[in-house]
């Protein structure tokens, strides 16, 4: 059994959760229909009328929203309330094009911070803890979200923001931080810096809440060992609120979705068809009680699966697996979904530069995948045996991550071509 911030709802029966979701969804749909002309037009254009939506079961009739809609409607087009009721914006930068801006009323911030508080309590946080937040503060939701959650729990909050490792370590040791909130890669970097400076005995951390980027189970085990903590996942996206849309529990088997605030669906990214529980597909979220920025059926582009199996932590919220990648980048190799981001995660963990090329081909009716990786100064040795061993460990780490064998080729630095800014990562030679 675990620790809960809002036990009544976190451990409610599935029937109760469904009842709450149904009630809130109808209200949220009415709210968007009446107050967001952009959304109403989108629904009407798809041939659906207000009366077609009688319960949450009818949600599958509604059109999807995507990042493109948020860009088209920038900045106020999806606003569901008067600006005078809004107290905050957060923003996310896309890799291309305009930024996306999300608005929050006081209540929106409140429910978002509740979600983060649930994550902190699930990681063992109480008002006796010292919570060091080294996610960026500002337009990025990471810092503000965990900061607000930490206040709600009553932790002593260290609003460090990102970077400045010396200062991070000074406060961590001087003020006995017990909970660390940051990206997994920064956690790994901090662990390394702690070892280098011989500070391991001065660290009082017990838990870490890590998110905002992809990371593997190997990396989790490594961070846990080196920092002597338990590492918890947190997931979220600015469009829907921020971190805390879902969070990991002591079982470390997926992240519980805060279903009293967000309704999740898994769809086939090509057809938009809703897939049954347990299938892998694109994650779609509907906000259930947001005032300023209600989003119904927002496509996250994250590929994962849901599980409604009862979790031994006692929570009844459905769990989502850590997203395996983005639907835009998905490759199907030997029938298995493979994402360049997974390969990139493995390379970074193994100390290679994130400059790589994936070549997919079909030889004798069988798919093959070859990964060209640039040799780095860190991984090079005058001893061929050592290079061989590293190459083998890279091959097995890729196998563990992807579930299929990939051929690895070590190539000289700067031989993988870079086009303007973005490298050509994937070459698919298959003729299908």
């Amino acid at each position: 059994m675990g620790n809960y911030y809002q036990k009544e709802i976190e451990c409610a029966s599935r029937e109760e959760i469904r009842r709450i979701q149904n009630e809130k969804f109808l209200k949220q749909f009415k709210h968007a229909w009446e107050n967001v002309p952009y959304y109403r037009k989108k629904v009407e254009d798809s041939g659906v009328s207000f009366d077609d939506i009688k319960s949450i079961d009818d949600i599958c009739k509604l059109p999807f929203l995507s990042k493109d809609d948020l860009r088209d409607a920038y900045p106020y087009g999806l606003l569901g309330t008067d600006l005078k009721n809004c107290v905050r914006i957060q923003s996310t930068s896309g890799t291309t094009g305009k930024r996306v801006v999300a608005f929050y009323t006081k209540d929106d911030v409140d429910l978002w911070e509740d979600c983060c508080a649930r994550a902190i309590v699930a990681a063992g946080g109480t008002n006796e803890d010292v919570c060091q937040v080294c996610y960026g503060y500002g337009l990025f939701t990471g810092g503000p979200g965990l900061h607000g959650g930490s206040h709600k729990v009553g932790c002593l909050t260290l609003p460090m923001s990102s970077g400045n490792t010396d200062r991070q370590l000074q406060f961590m040791t001087d003020l006995n931080a017990t909970i660390l909130c940051c990206t997994p890669s920064y956690a790994a970097y901090l662990a390394e810096s702690i070892e280098e400076r011989g500070l391991r005995d001065k660290i009082k951390l017990k838990a870490g809440i890590f998110g905002a980027e992809a990371w593997s189970e190997e990396m989790r085990a490594d961070i846990e060992k080196r920092l002597g903590i338990k590492a918890y996942d947190i997931y979220g996206l600015t469009e829907i609120s921020g971190p805390g849309v879902s969070f990991g529990c002591s079982e470390q088997k997926g992240m519980h979705i805060n279903e009293d605030h967000f309704y999740a669906e898994i769809i086939n990214p090509k057809t938009g068809e809703v897939l049954p529980m347990g299938s892998e597909g694109e994650l779609v979220f509907t906000s259930l009680d947001k005032e300023a920025f209600p989003l119904i059926r927002y496509r996250t582009k994250d590929i994962c699966e849901l599980s409604d199996e009862k979790c031994s932590c006692g929570r009844s919220f459905v769990r989502m697996a850590k997203p395996r990648g983005r639907s835009d980048d998905m490759l199907i190799i030997k029938g298995v979904n493979v994402f360049p981001s997974q390969i990139e995660t493995v390379l970074i963990e193994q100390g290679y530069p994130a400059n790589y090329q994936i070549i997919v081909d079909r030889v004798n009716h069988t798919d093959t995948i070859d990964v060209n990786v640039e040799m780095s100064n860190d991984n090079f040795s005058d001893n061929l045996g050592k290079i061989n061993e590293m190459e083998k460990s890279l091959v097995s780490a890729l196998k563990a991550m992807l579930g299929i064998h990939a051929n690895v080729h070590l190539v000289a630095p700067r031989t993988i071509e870079r086009s303007e800014g973005k490298a050509v990562r994937v070459i698919d030679k298959r003729k299908i």
Binding site: S376, N377, F380, S381, D382, N383, L384, V411, A412, P413
Partner: protein, 129 residues
């Protein structure tokens, strides 16, 4: 004698070795020893050169991955059983050799070998006994 050895990551493709020796020739750097260890896709080119610093600078400028390690330059009598007599000492001292190769030319009737070990100072002591 302990010397610095330059190791360079090379891909097994035509012209690679020519390119590297060209870079060194341009800088007037002389090669004293050379060895290649290879697999199907890539190899490690090991060099002892007359001017390490300018060799390192020139290779880095051309984006080569390099590692620099101390190695032992060990004199071996150029007679039958010469290498055996040296290796006997090293083995008796319980020193493991990661790899070794011979150097160009000979010095006062002696051949020379390059040996890579974990503790070059210890090896130096052992072979000079």
């Amino acid at each position: 004698m302990i010397r610095n050895q330059l190791s360079v990551f090379i891909e097994n493709r035509n012209g690679q070795l020519c390119e590297i020796t060209g870079i060194l020739a341009d800088k007037g750097i002389n090669l004293e020893a050379l060895n290649i260890a290879e697999t199907v896709d890539y190899g490690v080119l090991r060099l002892i050169v007359s001017d390490e610093d300018s060799a390192i600078a020139a290779l880095k400028e051309n984006d080569y991955v390099i590692s620099v390690n101390p190695v032992n330059m060990v004199k071996v009598p150029n007679v039958p059983g010469g290498l055996f007599s040296v290796l006997k000492k090293i083995t008796a001292a319980n020193i493991g050799i990661e790899y070794m190769y011979s150097i160009f030319g000979e010095l006062n009737g002696s051949a020379q070998m390059i040996m890579r070990v974990a503790d070059p100072d210890l090896l130096e002591k052992v072979v000079s006994q």
